[in-house]
């Protein structure tokens, strides 16, 4: 199959890339664009470490064929978070709550939190559990991640 060409907005910058249409979005992000913050933990949609946002919606990039992602899509990876005030609030909350241990699940976890809080900055306990149910963390026991999301919600910049 011949390569396809796509132009996306990645972390706020326009990028045009060519790749085989079935190449995993995860590989395009990690290897072609070198956003290595995005992690592979399972390669089959179970761990959530590879989560990125496509137009604000969290997807596991290991299960997305990059050719399926249309031109003009806004892609947000963990590296893009610090460019927005909301992103920085979320990162600060993770640091001060002690939510990161080995850090390998954290990029995916942050993207899940960011997607949630962007839509719903006053989440209930259940909203938080729902939003992160697809992200596995083997280190933290999730307690401090929940605390971080609550803290970020408290400090979330609202218009």
């Amino acid at each position: 199959m011949s390569n396809v060409k796509r132009t996306w907005n990645v972390n706020g910058e326009e990028k045009t890339l060519e790749f085989p249409p079935l190449r995993r979005l995860l590989d395009v992000i990690r290897e072609d664009m070198r956003f290595t913050g995005c992690k592979e933990g399972c390669g089959e949609g179970e761990c959530g470490a590879c989560t990125v946002l496509l137009d604000g919606v969290p997807v596991t990039s290991c299960l997305v064929a990059a050719g399926q992602v249309p031109d003009g899509t806004q892609i947000l990876t963990v590296e893009g978070l610090e460019k927005t005030e909301q992103g920085r609030v979320l990162q600060e909350a993770y640091v001060s709550a002690g939510a990161s241990q080995c850090g390998f699940c954290i990029p995916g976890m942050l993207m899940a939190s960011f997607a949630l809080l962007s839509k719903n900055s006053r989440p209930t306990e259940e909203d938080i559990l729902d939003a992160h149910g697809g992200n596995i963390c083997r280190c933290t026991g999730y307690v401090k991640i929940i605390e971080a999301v609550r803290l970020a919600a408290q400090n979330w910049p609202r218009k």
């Binding site: 913050g37 640091v95 241990q101 699940c105 596995i136 307690v143």
Partner: protein, 769 residues
């Protein structure tokens, strides 16, 4: 810019946030697979498709273009074809007998991953298949029949008092058998390693690993290189839990052999399926306990047997067994104790290190059994534990007198109080058919040895160093040089705190780089809940020496020989003060780098006999108590863990925030061990070999936690910490089983406990009566 760490005043004992967190939340932490090594090839292991057999030949497709790849066969190994993991019973690459499914038959490397994988498919082993042994049930069956066909990989006994006499004094004897299954570490970053040759003919190995000084010297034998030609560096590690303790020597060896053959750097990163199938697991276990009791609840004799399924080769199993038997009857007063542990071979991947290291299996059996003992003499579980638990001045099963730093009964009392245990126990359903949901609370009390077994630390002589150097341009500061690794547990943060405290400088002036054997002394492996207590002590000692040297320099060079104290980042001399950085800079300008080192010692009166396994089993014990509250659905037997109340004594807490984080993470792994993580063997292969089938706790599975600490510092070793890493893994499984019994009236003697197990027990109970 970006997130800043918050640092409260004071170092040791303060909730400093983690030094590694800002990079991690920005996606800037560089893990092994993130490193772009120019010219790097990819390695792949060609594996045996059968679990037990004899290799007749290994054929290769002739039409495949082998010139594009590099292949390593047993004859290509420069040294001995032996994996130097404690015992020399495992070949690096199998050449004759195959002992587990997936055993390496060849290694192959290629410029890209796809080609390496393709090449691996063009090998065709011809293997004469032999019958195998796989299951703990088979082992126990043969063991009970005293069948000599069982292949032992090691055994150890420890005896106290006179067990026969103890049983003869008993009013009653209680027995029980307790089974525990496999557990997969499931660190989220799979095993990953890179090796490349150096100009001097050596190798540089780096990757995701726990113990740099295991890989060197263990690979010397295989690679035929002296230790100074093997450099090992840890890269950022995405979780380990013991899974990256002894195993990385193998993947590092595969990379190094391929790098030496191909003359290219070689990287291997496992995919999840390969990682689950072909790396270590927690040993499945079986424990049998027989205990003599007096009517008043006094324990007169404990006879404990602990069997481990070792897998195909010995590797680290004897060390795991040692910790297992030292915890198999630990925690309660008894003059007559006999503990016997054995490891048996099966045709599965060798089992290995996993957080707790034999103690969770032992504690699972013993704390389930303690519950039965309480019942047998008509006491409440908390009364029985309160009456018999070891306290200061008591003697452990190995004859160790608990002289100081004993957080028992404090942890037990704290949990009983905070969980309102007595009242909630009365409310427990015990299978009452009138209850819509069955509620139950259960208890477990335990101790966990910190550091290497016995006089291991005294013999090992762990060293740590600190060095004054430029840590950034124009920023003089202190590098901590230890071989301890940061794998998520927070070691570097607390080392920073300890060093900053000892030297009395701000945290910002201290850093702890990832270890590299070319730069760090051997502080030992990052295992056995020893890092804070043992290596923390060496950093503390080295820090004090550095401080003294700098004070002397300042006195001589600046303050005309008057006494100087370095205090909170300032050199103070009778009213005058100069900043640390100024004096540090002038020291560096004048003398260059200053390095001080300190070695860990043990009290001279510590006694241990390795042959009888008697004496002071550990430098110190940490103590813990857990209460679990469960709800069980009487229709579906679905089990919901509602609340966990836990209290631990880990000595002096260097960083309470981090202690809590360790406790939470460990307790949640134990929820998986007790209730979710089920793995069997079918046709020689693990039946849960992907994340889809090996189910670990996710956010909705976690209960409410009430976690507290009581501090009984280990005074011999400032700043007084004991171990914390493993202990949260020890007690929650039996606490949950005990809670389930109080909820349902059903005793589960096997973990993980699944709803279908409760259903089977329920039917058996009602059919029989």
């Amino acid at each position: 810019m970006g997130p800043k760490r918050k640092i409260k005043s004071g170092h040791v004992g303060a909730d400093s946030t983690r030094v590694d967190a800002p990079d991690k939340v920005r996606g800037r932490a560089v893990y092994t697979d993130d490193i772009d090594v120019p010219g790097c090839w990819y390695g792949k292991v060609v594996r045996s498709p059968v679990a037990h057999g004899r290799l007749r030949s290994l054929k290769r497709d002739e039409e495949f273009d082998w010139s594009r790849v590099s292949v390593v066969l047993p004859d290509d190994i420069p040294g001995k074809n032996i994996a130097d993991l404690f015992i020399h019973d495992m070949p690096f690459i199998a050449h004759d007998e195959i002992n587990y499914l997936g055993e390496p038959l060849a290694l192959v490397a290629a410029p890209d991953r796809e080609l390496a994988e393709e090449a691996a498919r063009h090998f065709h082993p011809d293997i004469e298949e032999l019958p195998g042994i796989f299951h703990m049930e088979e082992i126990v069956d043969l063991y009970k029949k005293q069948d000599s066909s069982l292949h032992s990989l090691g055994e150890q006994t420890t005896v106290k008092g006179d067990i026969e006499k103890g049983f003869s004094e008993a009013d009653m004897i209680v027995t029980g058998e307790y089974w525990a299954g496999y557990q997969e570490q499931l660190y989220i970053e799979p095993q990953a390693m890179i090796a490349e040759m150096t100009d001097d003919g050596g190798v540089f190995i780096r990757g995701s690993l726990q113990c740099p000084y295991f890989i060197n010297p263990e690979l010397c034998l295989t690679l035929n290189l002296p230790p100074e030609k093997i450099r090992v560096k840890q890269e950022m590690t995405g979780g380990a839990f013991g899974g990256k303790e002894e195993y990385p020597t193998l993947i590092a060896g595969y990379c190094a052999l391929l790098a030496m053959k191909s003359r290219h750097p070689v990287k291997i990163v496992f995919d999840r399926n390969e990682d689950i199938l072909f790396t270590t697991k927690r040993h499945p276990s079986w424990g049998r306990l027989k205990t003599g009791l007096k009517k008043d609840g006094t324990i007169t004799a404990i006879h404990a047997e602990l069997l481990l399924n070792g897998g195909a080769y010995t590797t680290i199993s004897r060390v795991v067994l040692a910790r297992g038997i030292l915890h198999a009857a630990m925690g309660y007063r008894c003059d007559n104790v006999f503990v016997d542990g054995r490891i048996f071979k099966t045709h599965t991947f060798p089992c290995g290190a996993f957080r707790g290291f034999g103690a969770p299996q032992a504690t699972w059996a013993f704390e389930s059994h303690i519950e039965e003992l309480a019942k047998a003499c008509g006491m409440l579980p908390q009364e029985f534990r309160r009456k018999n638990c070891l306290v200061q001045g008591d003697v452990t099963p190995t004859g160790m007198v608990l002289k100081d730093s004993v957080g028992s009964p404090a942890v037990l009392d704290q949990v009983l109080d905070r969980s309102d245990f007595a009242k909630k126990l009365k409310q427990s359903s015990r299978g009452n058919p009138k209850h819509k949901k069955w509620y139950g609370i259960g208890l477990a009390f335990f101790a966990h040895g910190s550091g290497f077994t016995g006089d291991g630390e005294a013999r090992f002589k762990a060293k740590g160093a600190v060095e004054l150097d430029w840590i950034e341009p124009n920023h003089p500061g202190v590098n901590i040089r230890i071989s301890s690794t940061e794998m998520g547990q927070g070691a570097f943060t607390i080392m920073d705190q300890i060093a900053a405290d000892a030297i009395s400088i701000p945290l910002d002036d201290v850093r702890c780089p990832l270890p590299d054997t070319s730069l760090c002394p051997n502080s030992g492996p990052t295992v056995a809940s020893r890092t804070t207590m043992v290596v923390g002590h060496t950093v503390h000692g080295a820090g004090l020496k550095l401080k003294a040297a700098l004070e002397e320099f300042a006195s001589k060079e600046v303050f005309e020989g008057r006494p100087v104290v370095l205090e909170n980042g300032r050199f103070v001399c009778s009213g005058e003060a100069l900043p640390f950085r100024q004096i540090a800079a002038s020291y560096l300008d004048k003398h260059g780098r200053l390095r001080t080192e300190h070695q860990f010692t043990l009290p001279p009166d510590l006694k241990w006999d390795q042959s009888t396994f008697k004496g002071d089993a550990y430098p110190a014990f940490s103590w813990g108590c857990n209460a679990a509250e469960v709800e069980v659905d009487p229709l579906t037997f679905e089990i919901r863990l509602k609340k966990v109340t836990a209290c631990f004594d880990v000595g002096r807490m260097i960083n309470p925030l981090n202690c809590k984080a360790q406790a939470e993470g460990g307790l949640v792994q134990t929820i998986g061990y007790a209730l979710m993580e089920k793995m069997g063997i079918r046709n020689g292969k693990y039946d849960a070999d992907r994340m889809q089938t090996y189910i670990v706790p996710t956010m909705p599975d976690i209960p409410e936690f009430d976690i507290t600490f009581v501090e009984y510092p280990y005074e011999f070793s400032p700043p007084g910490a004991k171990g914390i890493g493993e202990m949260p893994m020890d007690g929650l499984a039996p606490a949950i089983a005990n809670a389930i019994e109080n909820a349902t009236g059903l005793r589960c003697n096997r973990i993980p406990i699944m709803p279908e197990d409760l259903f089977t027990l329920h039917r058996a109970k009602h059919q029989n009566g």
